[in-house]
């Protein structure tokens, strides 16, 4: 079974009563299933469908609409690099390629395909705008924002992403290209340089 007993109970007792129709409980159910397993196996679609009176195809179709639902197993850490204009102009493409190279992945830009390292530790993919342009180029690690992560920061970033976390970091004004100077005070908050192995 793809779903734990606890998850089933939560779907039945908490999610379904919350909405006027059972189908409306589909999204939280999918999130719950993915939280448990890290991804959504075909059996999860069957089981959620059974609980919500939906055909498994319908469930899988909804899951497929959203790129944040994974229909294949992914690495332990998911790294997503924004490729939309602000980040792109701030050099996100170089960041993306550097991350790929560092992790031994094919550095080409093949649409939205996700690549996973052979040891299963990392999955990397480009992503659409994360609405955090003031930290461009933004890299999302397991749904948490990090930035700016420039090409030269990649080793330090991979060694300890938390240093690049935007949490607690003041907002920066829009930057216009990778060479733009950060606002005053930025350097003080920047993570100390990390020696790379």
């Amino acid at each position: 079974m793809a779903l734990s007993q606890a998850a089933r109970q939560r779907i039945v007792n908490e999610f379904i009563p919350r909405y006027p129709s059972k189908r409306a409980a589909l999204m939280p159910s999918l999130w719950l299933a993915q939280d448990e397993a890290g991804w959504l196996a075909p059996e999860a679609f069957e089981e959620i469908g059974e609980l919500l009176d939906l055909h498994a195809t319908d469930v899988a179709s909804v899951a497929s609409f959203y790129v944040m639902f994974h229909r294949r197993p992914i690495g332990q850490t998911l790294i997503e690099v924004c490729e939309n204009p602000s980040c792109y102009l701030a050099g996100s493409d170089a960041t993306f390629q550097a991350i790929c190279k560092r992790l031994g992945l094919h550095a080409g830009h093949d649409g939205h395909g996700m690549q996973t390292t052979a040891d299963g530790k990392y999955s990397v993919r480009p992503t659409e705008c994360l609405a955090a342009c003031d930290y461009a180029p933004v890299v999302q690690v397991d749904l948490r924002f990090h930035g700016p992560v420039r090409e030269g920061d990649v080793d330090a970033f991979l060694a300890d992403p938390s240093r690049f976390s935007i949490e607690g970091k003041p907002s920066v004004s829009m930057v216009h290209g990778p060479q733009a100077t950060p606002v005053e005070g930025w350097e003080a908050n920047a993570p100390p340089p990390v020696a790379t192995a």
Partner: protein, 854 residues
């Protein structure tokens, strides 16, 4: 402000023409009323609204409130905009034309424009709309999207993803009409892909309809693919000859061969749908395996012969039996799949030439009662098929409506979605259970007890009318004697609480409809069940909303044509039994493979071997035909002109679609010629002669006054004996104790598509037929050591067959199910006709036997 009552109609102006339409009408439909066709792709009147394609853009203006300046009109989708009073709909506004042109240009960006190799070419809305509304040139010079081409969604339906314009008609159909959402769009936007989960083939028995709905050639038929161009086809209006619903179809032929079968719109019958059996199982018509010419048994088996010899031989042998033993030594069986003309000729032949009362189309029938509702002055079927969509409650007893009357199941679904409460009583879980408000899982063979229990519950708390007055059901209390809800419930193996709940639901529902399975109408207790069902209708205040289904494509027509036991006549099952015991000396079998359909294969074999003469009309060299003395090669329903009468009593015409080979003749002609060879005469030379006679002679068709209906058919209402209608209630016989036995009770009825002869000629359909199985309850299976998918032996009173076990919860503990029309030999090999309830044992096939088989 006081709320104004909504007007009965609203007036709108479409391209300068004023029309009045009901409030809530869609702008696209209002335009149709005004005679203007707004181009659409995603909109379909039988489906929910999507507003997905934007093709129907019109400039629509709303009336302003009095004293306010006029509002400027805007571009709106006519397919999702509902009309309001004073609305102006301008379908040809420059803005609308520009919008449509843009939509077409966008749609064609990724459409491959491979019309020269596309089946839809010539009958394609995308082609037509592009031609009528699209830009002359595309500005798109980049690489088109590449996607799956020629991908099988199932063995029957082929997908070309590149052609798809994502109108969602197919997915809406699957979700809304048969309720089998096994097809969906995956991912989104430009990468949207039509798929099933895990690429599993679609399983629905209604999937062929998405081919008709597809507006662009993305979905095509595997059996019709690359076979013809629409302009090459000849068309004949016809009626499907696969089940008693009588779906209206159009048969498209090319070079005198059936290329495809499509549904024809008839909102009273099939709307615009047809099931996959009706659509795809047509290849039998041009099969090389068909019988050709007559065959006569010599000393060393059947030999081809001339028609003259065959008539003489049949006449000689039948004449010998008749003169030695009298006409009553001849039994006539079959005719449920024939046209009315054939059935009428057969009835006349039996009565006037063979002079036998032993005639019956109802194969396996135990009861001579043909219409169980006759004591109430009713027909066997009294509610029009389309009434199901407006019913307040629908009761289905002893029928798997999905498998036995498939397209009517779609209508029942429609009714349930509109609020009808569905009550399903069946020993096995059926598709209908998914929508059921109450499910009754009674013991096989206890339908009478179940119905009587519902009557007893109604007597306890009768329906109450609008004034709060309870119906007086004291007569009914008397009629059912001392049967209590508890007693009936215990006998039927159902919870008495559920029976009371069913009665309460029925009592409080408007316009209930009762459907009773065809197999209950031929069982030994058919008369009693008819009384219970008739009383149920009366108790609910709807005496004429009770219906018995019928078997065979033209079972009702055969009944009305007189293919039923005459005075002292025997039911079909009894005819076979008497033939097996030697009392009946001759069998005349028309279009019926008794060895597979009589519910006792051994007895049928005995009857065929023992009879002095067996004459068979057939399309194929079936086992029964091979056992005959004289075999006549007959024509199928697509090769004839004539009429069929559907389960509801709708007289419908079939026009000849295929000219038959010279070596095959319609049944009425064979009978007429054979009668002449026997020195009598039916006197028919043309099909129209028979039609004229049957309209004139049969009381059922008296209201027609000799006039044939047009393509839509006509619902014939029979004239009833008014005095019979005055009977309030009829005594229901006391519940008989069931036959006790050991082992598991076997339930059997046909699946919608089995490996029947006609299906076997369509390999694409045949591969969707499951391996012959027996369904066993999980608990029984674990007790007996049977695992899902294992080979098991089903041993019944008459024999043993091997089946694949399906272990699930669809059958209750103590019951097993095996479909009638799957497997060789058929499950009838284990049945004894004389047993009302068949007890079987199911056990794993010994390992040694399996090894030996290899």
């Amino acid at each position: 402000m006081t709320a104004a009552t909504p007007p009965a109609t609203v007036t709108v102006t479409v391209d300068g023409t004023e029309v009045s339409v009901p409030p809530g009408t869609l702008a696209v439909e209002a335009a149709r009323v005004a005679g203007v066709d707004v181009p659409v792709f995603c909109y379909h009147p039988k489906l929910s609204l999507a507003g997905a394609c934007r093709m129907c853009m019109c400039e629509i203006g709303m009336a302003s409130p009095p004293g306010q300046p006029p509002r400027p009109p805007g571009l709106m989708t006519a397919c999702t905009t509902r009309v309001s009073n004073g609305m102006t709909i301008n379908t040809m506004a420059p803005g609308a034309l520009k919008a449509r042109e843009g939509v077409i240009e966008f749609l064609l960006i990724n459409h491959p424009l491979d019309c020269p190799v596309c089946d839809a070419g010539g009958e394609c809305p995308l082609q037509d709309n592009s031609h009528a509304w699209g830009p002359k040139e595309s500005r798109f010079t980049e690489q088109k999207r590449l996607a799956r081409k020629g991908a099988a969604l199932s063995p029957l339906v082929v997908l070309d993803q590149e052609r798809c314009i994502t109108c969602y008609r197919c997915t809406r159909f699957m979700d809304e009409i048969p309720g089998e959402a096994e097809l969906a769009f995956f991912t989104r936007g430009y990468t949207s892909q039509l798929r099933t989960i895990n690429e599993e083939p679609m399983k629905s028995r209604f999937q062929g309809n998405i081919i008709d709905l597809c507006p662009c050639g993305a979905l095509t038929s595997e059996t019709y693919r690359f076979k013809a161009r629409p302009h090459d086809l000849d068309h004949a209006d016809s009626v499907c000859g696969q089940c008693p619903v009588g779906c209206n179809v159009m048969i498209d032929t090319r070079s005198n061969q059936v290329a495809r079968v499509r549904p024809r719109q008839n909102d009273a019958v099939n709307e615009i749908w047809v099931c996959d059996k009706g659509r795809f199982a047509h290849h039998y018509s041009s099969s090389p395996n068909r019988l050709s010419g007559p065959w006569v048994r010599g000393e060393d088996g059947l030999h081809p012969s001339t028609w003259r010899q065959a008539y003489q031989e049949a006449a000689r042998r039948l004449g010998a039996v008749k003169s030695a033993y009298g006409g009553a030594a001849i039994g006539v069986i079959g005719g449920r799949n024939l046209t009315n003309e054939d059935a009428f000729a057969l009835a006349r032949f039996a009565a006037e030439v063979l002079e036998t009362p032993h005639v019956d189309f109802r194969v396996g029938a135990q009861s001579a009662v043909v219409n169980p509702l006759a004591p109430f002055g009713l027909d066997a079927f009294n509610t029009g098929l389309d009434a199901a969509e407006k019913a307040g409650a629908i009761v289905v007893v002893g029928a798997d409506v999905h498998d036995e009357v498939p397209v009517q199941w779609l209508r029942i679904r429609k009714g349930v979605k509109a609020g009808a409460r569905l009550i399903v009583a069946n020993p096995r879980a059926t598709e209908a259970d998914r929508l059921a408000f109450h499910r009754l899982r009674h013991r096989p063979g206890t339908e009478l007890a179940l119905l009587t229990g519902i009557l007893a519950a109604l007597v306890e708390s009768p329906p109450v009318d609008a004034e709060g007055v309870a119906r007086d059901l004291s007569g009914l209390a008397e009629a059912i004697g001392g049967v209590t809800v508890e007693k009936a419930a215990a006998h039927a193996g159902v919870d008495s609480v559920t029976i009371r709940a069913v009665a309460a639901t029925l009592a409080s529902s408007k316009d209930p409809i009762v459907y009773v399975g065809a197999r209950l109408a031929i069982r030994h207790d058919a008369g009693a069940i008819g009384l219970a069902v008739g009383n149920l209708g009366r108790a609910l205040g709807h005496p004429a909303r009770v219906n018995f289904l019928v078997e065979g494509a033209n079972g009702r027509g055969a009944e009305w044509a007189g293919l039923i036991p005459g005075d002292g006549g025997l039911p079909a099952g009894e005819i076979v039994a008497r033939a097996a015991s030697g009392e009946i000396k001759a069998l005349y079998i028309v279009g019926e493979n008794l060895l597979e359909t009589h519910p006792d294969a051994a007895q049928a074999r005995e009857a065929l071997e023992r009879a002095d003469v067996v004459v068979v009309h057939e399309l194929f060299p079936t086992l029964t035909a091979q056992a005959a003395h004289v075999v006549f090669a007959a024509t199928g329903v697509m090769e004839k002109d004539g009429t069929l009468t559907s389960v509801e009593g709708r007289l419908q015409r079939v026009w000849q679609a295929v000219r038959p080979d010279a070596d095959r003749a319609p049944d009425w002609r064979i009978l007429s010629d054979l009668a002449a060879a026997m020195g009598a005469g039916l006197g028919y030379v043309a099909s129209a002669d028979v039609t004229r006679d049957l309209l004139a002679d049969l009381p059922a068709y008296a209201p027609q006054q000799g006039v044939l209906p047009g393509s839509a058919g006509v619902l014939v209402r029979r004239v009833h004996d008014a005095s019979a209608g005055s009977v309030d209630v009829r005594a229901v016989p006391a519940i008989e104790p069931g036959q006790a036995g050991e082992g598991l009770v076997l339930v059997t009825y046909p699946e919608i598509v089995g490996n029947e002869t006609v299906v076997g000629e369509t390999p694409e359909l045949l591969v969707t037929v499951p391996e012959a199985y027996v369904e066993v309850n999980r608990d029984d299976a674990s007790r007996l050591g049977i695992s899902d998918g294992a080979s098991v032996e089903v041993r019944g009173p008459a024999g043993t067959v091997t089946r694949v076990a399906r272990v699930n919860g669809r059958v209750p503990i103590g019951t097993v199910f095996a479909p009638e029309n799957l497997g060789t030999p058929r499950i009838n090999a284990v049945l004894r006709w004389s047993h009302d309830v068949t007890y079987v044992t199911v056990q794993p096939v010994p390992v040694a036997a399996l090894a030996g088989a290899r």
